[in-house]
């Protein structure tokens, strides 16, 4: 075990044993379409890793490959040190929570949860005990005799989760499991699932297109785009240091500018505006993307200064409770989005009001444009 820790580099070729689930060079094509273009990924024991990507990025195909519903054209899937690339789903020891839960409607909740135990020929008494335990664990004690349709959305989800973990699987797969819930319940369930996963030390692979959800739930996030993992890292790393324009645009709100690095630590935008760059600027002439998160710019009072400052007028005001989101058209001819705390005593600008905004070079984050 002298290999360095996998870190953030997505090019580390994982070796068996390093991760609980290891994907090596997974390729899957459908006709002329390449759904997965070489995926290398190691999910560590006990971690919740999220595959985040827009629809069509290949995340669902990846999930199917792991679950065994698809066979990759190239590459290997390892669970621990065991290759399961061609194993049937039944022989994989993976618990899965489906998007719409897929609770069997003709069986009671208890029968649903007992199903994987029955398939594993666990003795009746032992199975009943384990079903009882897991029902209590997910807070469904006493509801075992109900049919799935007699449960609320949140309860159905808990039942689906219970069914996926009752047989002690090596890996838990979650396929957009919160999509069907309303916002409040969704947040509650997210935290509950996270707590349970940590409590039981489950290794989990979670697939979603919802970046907010990914940020809340994950130990690490793998961002997918067009069949590749473009960035792998902790939620913080991904939010603070997106590697390219795609990730920057996909995670959180952002202002993105295309610019060319000029002399003296400046960059010139398409429209001619000049931005002061952070200290670690690339060489002159490089095409770069500049990312400015909406909470970074400040409103400058008369006389205050910043390395980059522009005057402009407010085009749109959206109240989000604690904070207010503004769309501001700056005089050089581009728009930015900013988020400022709400100030009651007339401190927040209104629509069409003139404001001066400023930010420093270090507030900008450089990303690959292409």
């Amino acid at each position: 075990m002298n290999a360095p820790p996998p870190g953030n580099s997505i090019h580390t070729t994982p070796t068996g044993g390093e991760g609980d689930l290891t994907l090596v060079g997974i390729v899957r094509r459908f006709g002329l379409v390449t759904a997965l273009a070489g995926i290398d990924l190691a999910v560590r024991k006990g971690e919740m890793l999220t595959i985040l990507g827009p629809s069509g990025s290949g995340k669902t195909t990846l999930l199917k490959v792991v679950a065994g519903f698809e066979t990759p054209d190239e590459g290997d899937v390892l669970l621990g040190t065991r290759a399961i690339t061609f194993a049937t789903p039944a022989k994989r020891d993976i618990g899965m929570v489906f998007q719409n839960y897929a609770l069997f409607p003709h069986m009671t909740v208890a029968q649903n949860i007992a199903f994987p135990l029955e398939m594993r020929k666990v003795a009746k008494a032992e199975a009943a005990k384990r079903v009882d335990d897991v029902l209590n664990l997910v807070d469904l004690g006493g509801l075992g005799d109900r049919l799935p349709r007699q449960l609320s959305g949140g309860q159905q989800q808990r039942a689906a989760l219970a069914r996926a973990i009752v047989f002690g699987p090596r890996l838990l797969l979650l396929d957009e499991p919160f999509g069907a819930l309303d916002r409040k319940l969704r947040e509650q369930m997210q935290l509950e699932v996270r707590r349970l996963q940590q409590h039981l030390g489950l290794t989990a692979l979670f697939v979603t297109h919802d970046q907010e959800e990914a940020l809340i739930l994950s130990d690490r996030i793998a961002v997918m785009d067009r069949g590749r993992i473009v960035q792998l890292g902790t939620p913080q790393e991904i939010y603070r240091h997106p590697v390219n324009r795609f990730v920057a645009g996909f995670i959180g709100e952002s202002n993105l500018f295309q610019a060319r690095v000029a002399s003296g630590g400046y960059a010139v935008l398409d429209g001619g505006a000049r931005f002061r760059l952070p200290a670690s600027a690339p060489p002159e002439g490089t095409e770069v993307g500049l990312l400015l998160r909406p909470e970074r710019p400040r409103r400058l009072a008369n006389g205050a200064a910043a390395e980059n400052s522009f005057a402009g007028s407010v085009v749109e005001v959206v109240y989000l409770g604690e904070t207010v989101k503004y769309r501001i058209r700056l005089d050089p001819g581009f728009e930015i989005i900013v988020r400022w705390p709400f100030q009651s005593s007339g401190g927040s600008p209104g629509k069409n009001e003139r404001v001066t905004v400023g930010w420093n070079g270090d507030d900008l984050h450089l990303v690959q444009w292409s």
Binding site: A90, N100, R120
Partner: protein, 274 residues
């Protein structure tokens, strides 16, 4: 609110003539469909020796004639046997066929699908002659099992249509979930998919049963001297023209209605939660 009520009132009054017309039309259609039954029931209780309507008097003699005649009972038992075997065979084969056509990805699938509907399109008489030729060569004419085979080919399209439709709307994730929980594909289908499409299976079985129990032409060619109930009824009309046939018809109607009630009871149980 008032305006709303007023406009609704107006709309209802404008609808009224249409409604009366619609009721009248439905009544006529209903009468048309029921007319044979209305005639058959009284005739079966007739005291006359001829098919005569309205009957001159009442008796149960034709029911007695049916029960006392070994040939009738023999034909009935044979028909039930054939229909049940046909139901079992065509439901199993048709369901398997439905799975392969709905789920499968193979070359020539749509042609294959159309070919499996052919028994419904080919005229029965042509089909009958063809299977007669086949089984005559094999010297199997007269065996009830041969009628079962002939009827099964005919019943498969019904099963395919009904079960296929159910499978097309079935969310395959249930099956995948079962597989991820440790079931083999076959086990997942048996424990999860089939119970959920039970209403369709029951309807398919009913259609298969009826299509065989009622069938005359194929049975006539393949049955030889071993008659099924429809063949016996046919012969009865040709030779005797006594109201026994009306009594048999009534019993047949009661049997089928009974099955239909049972079917709707079983079939309604598990509707797939969509």
């Amino acid at each position: 609110m008032e305006l709303n009520a007023a406009s609704r009132g107006r709309r209802r009054s404008r609808m009224r003539p249409w409604h009366i017309g619609l009721y009248a039309w439905c009544g006529l259609v209903f009468l048309f469909l029921m007319a044979p039954l209305i005639v058959v029931f009284p005739i079966s209780f007739s005291s006359s020796a001829y098919l005569q309507f309205p009957p001159p008097g009442w008796s149960l003699r034709w029911y007695a004639a049916y029960i006392d005649d070994f040939a009738w009972i023999d034909a009935t038992i044979r028909s039930l046997k054939v229909a049940m075997a046909t139901t079992a065979l065509s439901t199993i084969l048709g369901t398997m066929l439905a799975f392969s056509i709905v789920r499968g990805r193979f070359f020539g699938k749509s042609t294959f699908n159309q070919i499996s509907m052919l028994p419904l399109i080919v005229p029965v008489i042509i089909y009958s002659i063809a299977v007669y030729g086949l089984f005559a060569q094999l010297r199997l004419i007269g065996n009830w099992q041969v009628i079962v085979l002939g009827h099964t080919v005919h019943a498969i399209p019904f099963v395919l249509i009904v079960v296929g439709a159910a499978l097309r709307t079935y969310d395959v994730n249930y099956e995948l979930a079962a597989m991820s929980l440790g079931a083999s594909r076959l086990r997942a289908i048996w424990r999860v998919t089939l119970p959920q499409i039970r209403p369709a299976l029951v309807s398919a079985m009913f259609l298969a049963f009826i299509s065989s129990f009622d069938e005359l032409v194929v049975a006539m060619f393949l049955g030889g001297s071993n008659m099924t109930l429809p063949k016996k009824m046919f012969d009865n009309i040709i030779n005797a023209i006594d109201p026994t046939i009306a009594a048999v018809s009534v019993l047949q109607i009661i049997l089928v209605t009974g099955i239909l009630i049972v079917v709707s009871k079983i079939g309604a149980g598990a509707s797939p939660a969509a």
